[in-house]
């Protein structure tokens, strides 16, 4: 079995690497980084099978990033985080933001060098080789599956809150059944819907930011004693000191998983050299500020223990405390919108992750078939939607969130490693139009921080994450051992 593979492969892959490397090499020097996007021109050059229209602008990119992220950090985590870390939970969110930024900058550089759909998986498989690529690619698919399931449970909690606000008593907690129902609905919607989901996403994000800005401004002023009574601050650090803060940072890191989603649609973004880095970095900064302020406001309204009792929908009670019933309703609506858009974006991203590995023959090509009638990748969407619904049914919010973070953090760490390697080796095809400032340092710290954060997770999450990675590797050995992706475009 070694012979046919061994003799055929080096020739084939050697050829393709050579010819491809010379292509961009010729174009590179002539097309300096300037208007019009030289980078997009190279990628979009007609290969004889048609061009691709780039239709997502900066606003669209920001909406993807913010829309994917904001659902979790504000509407699901504050109660859980405060219970674990007290007011210092805002520090946990700040740590998450720093880690995310450290990764977002190297990701931006890689994305402008390889603006293809597939995001982190694409960078790692091309920069580090097939084995890490396969682990990350399959891991990213499942990581997004876990993340989507987590968002769906959050969405279910807010949908259940609607019944509570309406005074309808239900015999069981409706969060999980509703989450499952939404999971089925959203998958069906993305299979058959041809609605313009992008403009819907833009609208949702705008409405959300308006509601949150009003609410948080009011809450902050109140907490600082501008009107009402200044709240007596709790002791900032929890009894356990810094450890619970770091553990909470690991838990809530799920709130930052969205920025790299911008890179998964890199192939559709206009003027990628400018818009990709801007959208990624800006969306992390925006949501980071919102998260920190949210926790500050929440912990000044109630004690941490009380917040923890409220669980996923703690923010509704915070709003009720400040503004009364209308505030509670506003936050319920915002929570529904936010978790809905996060869940929707993650399901779509998971299907794109399946496409990316299938295109590279890491899984059977049938997985990326597009249904000509609806134009949607029905197999990939099924591979995303099916497991998502099953996981949502478990209702294990914290576990789902941590496993999602685990799998993403592995990818983020490896993205940083890939940047370091590419900067060192400077292959011909590597001509990013955005260069991360102090790249090696940022990437080094980013890689360290990503891997370090994993260490603060619950043992169960680490175990499940490791099993997923091991299975991905075994699959690679079994199915895709003869695929060579390094430097392959």
């Amino acid at each position: 079995m070694d012979d046919p593979d061994g003799s055929g492969d080096p020739d084939g892959s050697g050829d393709s690497v050579d010819s491809d490397a010379s292509g961009p090499g010729i174009v590179g020097p002539a097309a300096d980084v300037d208007v019009p996007d030289a980078l997009a021109d190279v990628v979009d050059a007609d290969t004889g099978e048609g061009e691709l229209e780039r239709t997502i602008g900066l606003t669209g990119g920001l909406a993807i990033g913010i829309g994917t992220m904001i659902g979790a950090g504000i509407f699901v985590f504050p109660g859980l985080a405060a219970e674990n870390a007290g007011p210092a939970a805002s520090l946990s969110f700040a740590i998450g933001a720093v880690v995310a930024l450290l990764v977002a900058l190297p990701t931006s550089e890689l994305a402008t060098a390889m603006p293809r759909s597939g995001g982190g998986y694409f960078f790692i498989s091309r920069g580090l080789g097939t084995a890490p690529g396969a682990i990350v690619g399959l891991g990213l698919w499942l990581g997004l599956v876990f993340a989507s399931a987590f968002y769906l449970v959050g969405l279910g909690s807010y949908a259940g809150q609607v019944f509570l606000e309406a005074g309808i008593a239900l015999p069981v907690d409706p969060a999980v059944p509703l989450g499952v129902a939404f999971g089925v609905g959203l998958t069906a919607l993305s299979l058959f819907g041809t609605e313009n989901t992008a403009s819907l996403q833009n609208g949702i994000v705008t409405v959300l930011l308006v509601i949150l800005t009003l609410f948080l401004s009011y809450g902050s002023l109140d907490a600082l004693g501008v009107f009402g009574t200044e709240s007596t601050p709790e002791r900032f650090f929890p009894p356990g000191g810094l450890l619970p803060v770091l553990q909470t940072a690991a838990l809530v890191f799920t709130s930052y998983l969205g920025f790299a989603q911008v890179a998964t649609v890199a192939g559709d973004i206009k003027d990628p050299s400018r818009n990709l880095p801007l959208a990624m970095v800006a969306s992390v900064l925006v949501v980071g500020v919102f998260y920190v302020v949210t926790v500050f406001v929440a912990t000044s309204a109630f004690g941490s223990a009380r917040l923890g009792e409220f669980g996923e929908t703690a923010m509704v009670e915070v709003a009720r405390e400040f503004i009364g019933f209308p505030g509670a309703i506003a936050i319920v609506i915002a929570g529904l919108l936010a978790t809905f858009s996060s869940a929707n974006a993650s399901i779509l991203s998971a299907s794109r992750a399946v496409y990316a590995v299938s295109r590279d023959d890491l899984i059977p090509a049938a997985a990326s078939r597009i249904n000509l009638r609806y134009g949607t990748p029905h197999v990939a969407l099924g591979l995303a939607g099916g497991p998502i619904v099953v996981l949502a049914a478990t209702g294990q919010v914290e576990l789902l969130a941590e496993v999602a973070s685990f799998l993403h953090l592995v990818m983020y760490g490896l993205i940083c490693v890939a940047l370091i390697r590419l900067r060192r080796e400077r292959p011909d095809w590597y001509t990013p139009s955005f260069r991360c400032p102090a790249g090696l340092v940022v990437a080094g710290v980013g890689a360290f921080a990503s891997f370090a954060l994993i260490a603060f997770m619950q043992p169960a999450s680490i175990a499940i994450g490791s099993v997923v990675m091991t299975l991905s590797y075994v699959w690679y050995r079994y199915y895709a051992i003869d695929v060579d992706l390094e430097g392959d475009f």
Binding site: A45, D46, T47, G48, E49, G50, E51, L52, E53, T55, R116, S117, S190, G193, T194, N196, T197, A198, V265, G267, D268, L348, S351, R352, Y355, R359, S368, R369, I370, L372, Y374, G375, T376, P377, L381
Partner: protein
């Protein structure tokens, strides 16, 4: 690659501007993968044109454009090649572009710019091309209409009817002098005077009137609608005319500002 008269759509050098060399550029957008094919009569209508044949496929947001290209690119390209051959056989010079897009409007608009197209065809079929209705609204941008009409038909024996629905405050005499001016311009550009007819009318609804007159013609040439609305071919009145008239409509595009 098989021998086709199509040129690669990539970076077209600006040395020979097709509009200057007498051939007006016309964009023909076709949704190739949705079964839209080159309608009958189109090759005859555009025999003297520089045709930019755009095959497009609209994909939903949830699908990566690359994914669709990988799966459908080849099929679409070969269909497009057939259409290009038919156009070229009738005499037009053809460029093909195939685009996978989430938004056809953006794509059509981009290609109008890139190829500096004088007009966009709303592709409907016609059995023959013997008489063409040219609806003119006013003096603004009328030069592009005459360039297109003369470019397409001066070498053929197509009958052209210039039509003008009176604007508010205009007299029949005003309208006629406007159209006679256009006619003189066409003659100067090589059209035979006896093939040009002039009709001025006081019509309430220009769209209805144009569609009505269109019925006794094989094709309609009309202007883009409203400069303030982004310039999609499928903009309102030209679309309405095309729907009712059922034949090919050439929508003359406004002058595009330099980017």
């Amino acid at each position: 690659m098989t021998e086709t008269p199509t040129e690669d759509g990539g970076a077209q050098p600006e040395t020979e501007d097709p509009t200057e060399s007498g051939r007006p550029s016309v964009l023909v957008p076709l949704a190739v993968l949705e079964g839209e094919s080159l309608p009958n009569g189109t090759p005859e209508l555009l025999a003297s044109a520089h045709v930019v044949l755009l095959g497009y496929h609209v994909i939903p947001e949830q699908t990566a454009a690359e994914q669709a290209r990988e799966q459908f690119g080849e099929t679409a390209m070969s269909k497009l090649g057939e259409f290009a051959d038919r156009l070229a056989a009738a005499g037009s010079d053809v460029e093909t572009r195939l685009v996978f897009t989430h938004d056809e409007g953006t794509t059509v608009d981009r290609l109008i710019y890139e190829h500096d197209c004088l007009a966009v065809l709303v592709p409907n079929s016609t059995e023959r091309v013997e008489s063409v209705l040219v609806a003119l609204r006013g003096t603004v941008g009328v030069g592009r209409n005459t360039r297109l009409v003369a470019g397409l038909f001066s070498e053929s024996d197509v009958e052209v009817t210039l039509y003008h629905a009176l604007n508010e405050g205009e007299s029949i005499a005003d309208g006629e002098s406007f159209l006679n001016g256009v006619r003189a311009d066409l003659v100067e550009r090589g059209m035979a005077p006896d093939r040009i007819e002039v009709v001025v009318e006081d019509a309430d609804a220009a769209v209805d009137a144009i569609a009505g007159h269109g019925e006794s013609h094989d094709a309609v040439v009309m202007g883009e609608t409203d400069p303030s609305v982004t310039t999609f071919v499928f903009g309102m009145p030209s679309e309405q005319v095309a729907e009712r008239f059922l034949g090919p409509v050439l929508v003359v595009q406004r002058e595009r500002p330099e980017e």
